[in-house]
Symmetry: C2
Subunit: 392 residues, 2 copies
Amino acid sequence: MAIFGDEKQGNNEFVVTPWHVAGKVDYQKLIEQFGTDEITQELLTRFERLAGGSHHMFRRRVFFSHRDLDKVLDDYERGRGFFLYTGRGPSGPMHVGHLIPFHLTRWLQERFDVNVYIEITDDEKFLEESRGLTLEQSRYWAYENALDIAAVGFDPDKTFIFTDVDYIGNMYPIALKVARKINFSWVRAVFGFNQQTNIGMVFYPAIQIVPTMFERKRCLIPAAIDQDPYWRVQRDIAESLGYYKAAAIHSRFLMPLTGPEGKMSASQRESAVFLNDDPKTIRKKIWRAFSGGQSTLELHRKLGGNPDIDVAYQWLYYFFEPDDDRIKQLHDDYRSGKLTSGDMKSILIERLTEFVERHQTSREEVKDKLHLYMREGRLAQRMWETKFGLEE
Amino acid sequence: MAIFGDEKQGNNEFVVTPWHVAGKVDYQKLIEQFGTDEITQELLTRFERLAGGSHHMFRRRVFFSHRDLDKVLDDYERGRGFFLYTGRGPSGPMHVGHLIPFHLTRWLQERFDVNVYIEITDDEKFLEESRGLTLEQSRYWAYENALDIAAVGFDPDKTFIFTDVDYIGNMYPIALKVARKINFSWVRAVFGFNQQTNIGMVFYPAIQIVPTMFERKRCLIPAAIDQDPYWRVQRDIAESLGYYKAAAIHSRFLMPLTGPEGKMSASQRESAVFLNDDPKTIRKKIWRAFSGGQSTLELHRKLGGNPDIDVAYQWLYYFFEPDDDRIKQLHDDYRSGKLTSGDMKSILIERLTEFVERHQTSREEVKDKLHLYMREGRLAQRMWETKFGLEE
């Protein structure tokens, strides 16, 4: 049984599956339970040397765990190369937390000059019955989300963004070869499926595994830790099909506005800041966010706040304040009581407003270029000409 | 539990599933167990009136059972029309028994001037692990079998022959909608799947159901009775997706050369006559076939033979001797002992050799026309332009 925790978690328990995150996630425990490896300082130093730079989401262990990142670096050093793969389940509008793996993936593409494949799982979000989405709705969001993703600024000749429903014709042969290696008993154990799970969902893991086989190179997957069960299955079958075991780097979840438990959810609009929220909404949401401050200003000045559970500080730390000196200052000043929760929120509001406005501008600009990522860029063109899994 | 019998059948038991037929099939019992309806004389008379003709495979109840054939006739009378769907699992070369539904389907197309859809399930035969076929092998047979099917002489502008792997891009959206309505528990019960069944096979029933939704009309499926479990599932979900419940006519299995048990199998070459067997092989196989005659000629003349278990007579009755007077004569003369088993075999050999030679000639001739059925005929072209299951 690979899932950690179950639906009826108690006080100190939590749940992390591809479809459900609840409770206060203990990331150290997840490493043990999922059997992944911590990103050590030694590995990070080597990585930064090869990347020719450093990213605060690595330094601060937003990406905290990995599988075979060391082998990816070996391959890179030997000139064998690698490629990047990540994705998005288009269940609704995207919030800022959803952009974490995409921003990091774009940075990795710049640093290593590699191909990026981005799968938008319109099939999965329709099959996930509790969402209550029609296929037409999940496809609507697929294209809306594709714009948000393209707006992050990937190389249009080295990036292929596709939806499963659009691209299945090219993936089905290899999906069959993957599916033939996986039995019901296995997906039941890994994904918590049961007798009532619909047969589309039972098949779906094969589809999410396919893009790890788009090249005969090692695939590095930057994604939130909840997606790891797919890569575990992939790693058990890839070599028997003549492909590499997927490598992965796992991110934590950006803390929801409501506080340290669970993850942000598009179905609870008050838990997250969305990429199309206006400045007024952003201000209002952050102002109401859970804070680590004391109940009165007087007490706060005297006892100081707790940055570990302060949403505003956590968001700055994870994503919006890349400067290490500045973030340390914010941390210490909040801890000492010099900085109030209101101060911290004001700083975040400024950063966030600027970020969302910049994103919205990029999104408008990329509308004319989306066809490059999806159909006509150099990589996209080649992908539409390729059928995977048929040996002629 | 919809499957009748199980793998450990005793003396009077038998098994009929889409992947396995064993024992002496009791067709009357199958009607009860599958919950289908017998084709009554009254229904047949009405059918023949509307068809403007009679086919010996109906008269002799080779097609013995149905679902909603009466409703198909209602629709036809009211001008609403219907369409035909059948298929082939490309696990190897085709034998004469495989042609039964195709010959009848072609006859129905001629009589009612309707569209025919023929699905070649290259995905299924790869996923069926006990076959031990690679996907490349099942695809090789898909194209070989497509030639044999096209050779039957369908209307190239009203017939679409496709393999699932080729055509999945157009079927996937509606396959998802079908799959979302079917859970594992259900396919376990209907198809006998278990925990060890691979997830491709678990999903596959959705794929075989899709072509029943190619038109917003009633679909009539001429197929062997072992395929009925798919239509049972289809009939439970079709209306909720806005389509008609599939209608079906069910054929018996042509008796294997080895005698009255099981069905002919491509994996036992001695059990069947293949469409590419040469006259010498045909002669040898029929000569060795199981017969209903007595152990000596003297005894045979005295006691007579049993046509019910005589392979040569059964083949003539089911397929190769359409003339009712002539078949009655053969029956009576064999029963009385006037006709020997050798005589019966000689008659079959002549018919069969002629049939296979004619088939092989048609097969050669149709090679230039296969693209019409698969890509460029009027119906095929329209099918390649259509994506099923997406409401725009």
